[in-house]
Every structure is written in structure tokens, then in C-alpha cells.
Amino acid sequence: MGEDAQHTAANSGSNDEVAARVARLDLSFNEHGFDRFGVSRDSIAAGMRVMGWLYRNYFRVRCHGVEHIPPRGRVILVGNHSGGYAIDGGMVIAACFFELDPPRLAHGMADRFINRLPFLSQLANRTGQITGLPQHARQLLSDDRVLLVFPEGARGTSKLFWNRYTLGPFGTGFLRLAKSTGAPIVPFAYLGGGEAVPTIANLPFLGKLLGVPYIPVTPYVLPLPLPVTSELRFGPQMRFAGTGDESQHLIQREVDEVKDVIAGLIAEGRESRRRGVAALPGGR
């Protein structure tokens, strides 16, 4: 799939399209549309209508390399975090749903605080965004699902505007998981999150009051996302042989390999966005 997988943007997320795609999801729903993790078919459809609109019309995500995600079987998507809160996660989930054929549901590994918040917890649980515990990751992978991991965690979304293309320290759990479950890693870079929510400061104290790690502050104070054209680049699959029980030293080296690939994808994406902005009048 090439440079613009998004001429489909014309029929942007019509209800029929979402319904048709939900019906083709490879999940074992019971007769009323619930799966064993509490994913609800109706909630996926409702969520994807919103996400599809954001994906195509608001952030106008340009997606490259989606063919690297296998059409079936277990896989871990690993990428960079940016932009105040997990818009990037939502857009990757939308890409898996709208760009893949057949569509797939990516399961983000949600931060622990989400389960404590009313509504957000309900929304996350019904759409398969369950708490990022090793047990959950293993269960989902052994069920041959798509796992979405941001190894920077909340440190990744708390990046300030001027650090938006940097990568913070990566956790190593995802790599051990990939090895022990035999799942391939598909690295990706998401560009635009840092511009959509240009964070100039984070307020951890206010966040604590509200039950979240921090509240991002933008030049216009509220952390509402700006309609910034974004880019999503998937790289070729990476496979790591082993049991997952290797020394931390060895694992760290392989994690750095993945991190380097993601840094490379970010650099490519910045270049392509620069050209894209120059080439398109009106600046996409």
C-alpha cells in the first residue's frame, strides 16, 4: 500500500462502512455481541464512527506500510508516544480498523489509572483497551490478537512540545513478551501528536486530584487537540528468536534495535511531512 492510502477518505467512516467492517472483525462474539474480554460489538462500532471521523477528517492521518501488519495471527505494534494523551493510540486503532482488509481490532495496553475513572474505564473495557498487565498481554496474544504497545508509557505522552520527536526510555516487557509468545513486532512512528496537543507544561498535582497522572497545558490552556495533519508509518516486521528469559543486558540490546527502527521511521515521517507541506497548497 502506497503513499496515500487515504483516497478512501471520500467515503469517510460512513455508518454502513463501519457496520460492515465490525461484522468482518475476526473476534468470537457471543450471540449478543460480547467477547470473553468484554469487548462489545456495538461499542466498537460507536467508537469507530468517532475515530474514523477523527482519522480521516480531523487529523487526516496519512498511513504508510499498513501491509506490514499480518492479516491474522498474533502481532505486537510498538511505537512512539506523544501529544498529551493517547490520540496516537486511537489513530493506530483506527488505522487497523479502516486500512486493513479484513479489519483488525488493536488492543491498546491501557494505563492503570484508566480503570479507576468512571466512563473512561467503561469505554476502554468495552472496546478492548484493557489494563496493560503482562497477564492481559499474554492472554490476548495467545488468542492471536493485535497488541498495541507504547513502551514509553505515560512518560511518552508527557513529552513537551519541543521534545515531541524524541524517544524516552523504553520498557523491556514487550520484547520478552514477543519472544515468549513468538509474536512478530511491527514498529511504527506516529507524527503529529505533539503538534495536535502542543504541551508546554504538565500539572501533576491537578492530575492527582482528578485521578490521572498529570494534566497537560497548552498555549491555549485547555489540552484540546488541534486539527493537525498526522502521519503514521509502519515498518517491516521484526522477529526475535528466544524464550523471553534472556539476560536483561541482551534484551536491552534488542529493545534498542526496535527503538532505532522507530527513530528511523520518525525521521522518514518528518521528511515526508515537510515535503508534503511544501507540495500541497493549503498545507495538509
Binding site: F34, G38, P118, Q135
Partner: protein, 381 residues
């Protein structure tokens, strides 16, 4: 096999006893509550587990297996009494098992052992620790009884000990914590939360217990039924109305407006899920639930119809439960009902009009040995 069943007058235990009898086992029961409809094939020793008459039953019957089901939840008993029954009773049962050389013991426990917390994983295995005890001290005695029973595995390695941690049961007998929680027309939920609930048809629960006994299971096993469902779906399918209240309003509103009273710890059980993995039980026994999640909820709804169902077919509703109860083991047990409470009629013919839901919840909960941990309806004994 000569089987001794403690807590035999409980609704689920009665069904287990009848099924054991049908399997050709020789059944003796101990319970301080009566069981008037106890069939002649079953010997009932009406006494407290901690009394000498109970030990005499061990001595004279020389059981080859003991199934311990005489535990109660905080719904039924005051704290001191509950501790005596749950922990003291379990201690005595295992003491007698050792003293009278009973080769096999089966402790029937609850999946609420694991506790409801925000960051616990779904599908918890038997190796997961009990959590949130500090916020739900009413569960501590059941957790202690469970762990004490499991300690028999290393204290008496020559004997076959199994601990079953079973999910909520639901079905025509309308007994158990979940049934009590869903009894009224309005069921409280916490605004913005909708946890997964695991439950199984009581006939499947009976089958699982007997399977564990006959396969001489050894170890700790989670026992679950069909697929877990969100609480809102349970409420919808059973024809109730969810009342969504903000967490902060719970202390003010519970126990009022026809809503059950919940303790602080119990509120966590409708906020966060307790979902267990029954993989090792399935592998060890080949157990598969025969009743699906919607079928189980339908059986509950038929036995405890919401007003809407009654209004739609008023003349024929005089004996709805009898007409629709599945012809399985539970149907037979059902007719026997519970003796201590007036509600022994409900298995055969439920007078639909006069069952105040809250009172109903109270009777089924206080009569129940199986009652777990969620709803604590207002009137208590």
C-alpha cells in the same frame, strides 16, 4: 461411595445431595437447619458442625469423602457467628477428616476470594493472591477458610484434598448472592462502571462439584461457567432496571428507595470485575458448562419474573416456575425448597404479586449458604 455433606440444607447443597444419590452414592448430611423434604435415602444429622454429634457422624458413618459446603457470607450472619461457622467449622471438618481417616475432602469456596480491585487482571489463575481484604473485611473469614482448607494439601499429603473457587450461581432456585442482588426491580450500578460478571447455572455448579469428587481432584481449582458478561447486560436480560448512581452517592442512598444496602467493600464488586480462569479445572475434569450465559439468565428470569413479564401474561402466571423449570436435577431439588423460610413454595408456584423484592432478597440471602458477597439487603435476622 460414602459421602458426608456439611451444610446440606443449603439450596445448592441440597441439589448436590440429590444428584449424589442419583449417582448411587451413600449420602449423609450435617446441618443445624432442618431439611423437611429430605428424601429417605439421605441421612440428615441435624446438629452444629462443632458439636459432638457431628463428630459422631464421622465416627459412625466412616465417610470416604467429605464435601464441605457449610460456609456463610456476610449477608446471612453477624461477624462473630460468621467467623465461628466459616473458620471454626472448616477447622473442625478438617480435624475430623484427619482423625477419622477420611481419604478425600472437597471444600466448596467462592471466586470472590480474589477480591475486586482496579488493577487486577481478567482471568485470574489459582496462583493469584486474595486482594482488597482491607476494604472488604467481611470477606476475610471466607478467605481464611479457603486458605486453611488448602493447607490440608501439605498438612495431610496422603489425603486427597481439593478447594473449588466457584463463580456466582444463578438458576431456578433463586438462591445465592447474585440472585439476591438481582432480585429487586431496580439494581444499582456505579455510574461510569460496568464490570464483567461471571456466573454459572446452578445445575452446572452441582455437576462440577460431583465431577471434582468423582475424579478425586487434588489441588486448588477455579470453577467458572459460560462467558462472562457486563453487569448491565445481566440486568437487561433478567428484565430489571439499572439504577446508575455516582460512587459518592452510595453511602447516602443504599438501603433506601428499594435498593439493597452494600458495604464499602461490596461496592467494589459492582465497580471492578472478578473474572477467573477455569483452565486447569477444565483440563483436569473435562468439565464444560451445559447452560450458556443467556440460557442461565433466562432460567433466573423465568423463576423470578420482572413485573413486565407478569403483566404480559397475568392469568397463567400462577405457576410460572413449575411450568418452565428445566427438567434437570435442580427441578427436583427446587420443589423441596428451603425449609426454614416461608419461601419453600417458590420452586413450585411463585405467587407473583406478593413477593416484595427486597424482602425476597433478604430471605433468599439469609437462607443461603451459598450467598457470596455482594448484596446485603436491609432486613437481617
Amino acid at each position: 461411595m460414602r459421602v458426608l455433606l456439611t451444610g446440606i440444607s443449603g439450596k445448592l447443597a441440597q441439589q448436590v445431595a440429590l444428584e449424589l444419590l442419583a449417582h448411587g452414592h451413600d449420602v449423609t448430611g450435617i446441618d443445624r437447619r432442618p431439611w423437611p423434604e429430605c428424601p429417605p435415602g439421605i441421612r440428615l444429622v441435624q446438629t452444629d458442625i462443632r458439636k459432638p454429634e457431628a463428630e459422631e457422624a464421622f465416627r459412625s458413618e466412616r465417610p470416604e469423602a467429605v464435601i464441605h459446603m457449610a460456609t456463610v457470607s456476610h449477608l446471612a450472619m453477624r461477624r462473630d457467628e460468621r467467623y465461628r461457622i466459616n473458620l471454626g467449622g472448616t477447622q473442625k471438618v478438617f480435624e475430623y477428616c484427619d482423625k477419622h481417616a477420611v481419604p478425600q475432602a472437597l471444600f466448596v469456596g467462592r471466586h470472590t476470594y480474589y477480591g475486586a480491585v482496579a488493577d487486577a487482571a481478567l482471568y485470574r489463575g489459582e496462583d493469584e493472591p486474595p486482594m482488597a481484604l482491607e476494604s472488604f473485611p467481611e470477606l476475610a473469614d471466607l478467605v481464611a477458610a479457603d486458605l486453611f482448607a488448602a493447607s490440608a494439601l501439605w498438612r495431610f499429603p496422603e489425603r486427597t484434598t481439593a478447594v473449588l473457587r466457584m463463580v456466582y450461581t444463578l438458576g431456578p432456585s433463586l438462591h445465592g448472592t447474585l440472585a439476591a442482588f438481582l432480585a429487586g426491580p431496580r439494581v444499582p450500578m456505579i455510574l461510569g462502571f460496568d464490570p464483567l460478571f461471571q456466573f454459572m447455572h446452578e445445575a452446572d455448579a452441582v455437576r462440577a462439584i460431583i465431577l471434582a469428587l468423582e475424579r478425586k481432584l487434588r489441588g486448588v481449582f477455579n470453577v467458572a461457567g459460560p462467558q462472562a458478561l457486563p453487569l448491565s447486560e445481566l440486568i437487561r436480560v433478567s428484565g430489571r432496571n439499572p439504577i446508575r448512581l455516582a460512587r459518592a452517592m452510595y453511602p447516602l442512598l443504599l438501603g433506601r428507595l428499594g435498593l439493597p444496602r452494600l458495604t464499602t467493600g461490596a461496592v467494589a464488586h459492582i465497580k471492578y470485575p472478578i473474572v477467573i480462569s477455569d483452565q486447569s479445572f477444565r483440563t483436569a475434569t473435562g468439565f464444560r458448562p451445559e447452560h450458556g450465559e443467556y440460557e442461565t439468565l433466562a432460567a433466573f428470569r423465568t423463576a423470578s419474573p420482572p413485573k413486565a413479564d407478569l403483566a404480559s401474561k397475568p392469568p397463567s402466571s400462577a405457576s410460572p416456575a413449575a411450568a418452565s423449570t428445566p427438567a434437570d436435577a435442580s427441578a427436583a431439588a427446587n420443589g423441596t425448597g428451603d425449609s426454614r423460610e416461608r419461601d419453600s413454595t417458590r420452586g413450585t408456584a411463585v405467587p407473583p404479586g406478593n413477593r416484595a423484592p427486597l424482602a425476597d432478597a433478604a430471605t433468599s440471602a439469609s437462607a443461603s449458604d451459598e450467598a457470596l458477597s455482594i448484596a446485603a439487603p436491609k432486613p437481617r435476622e
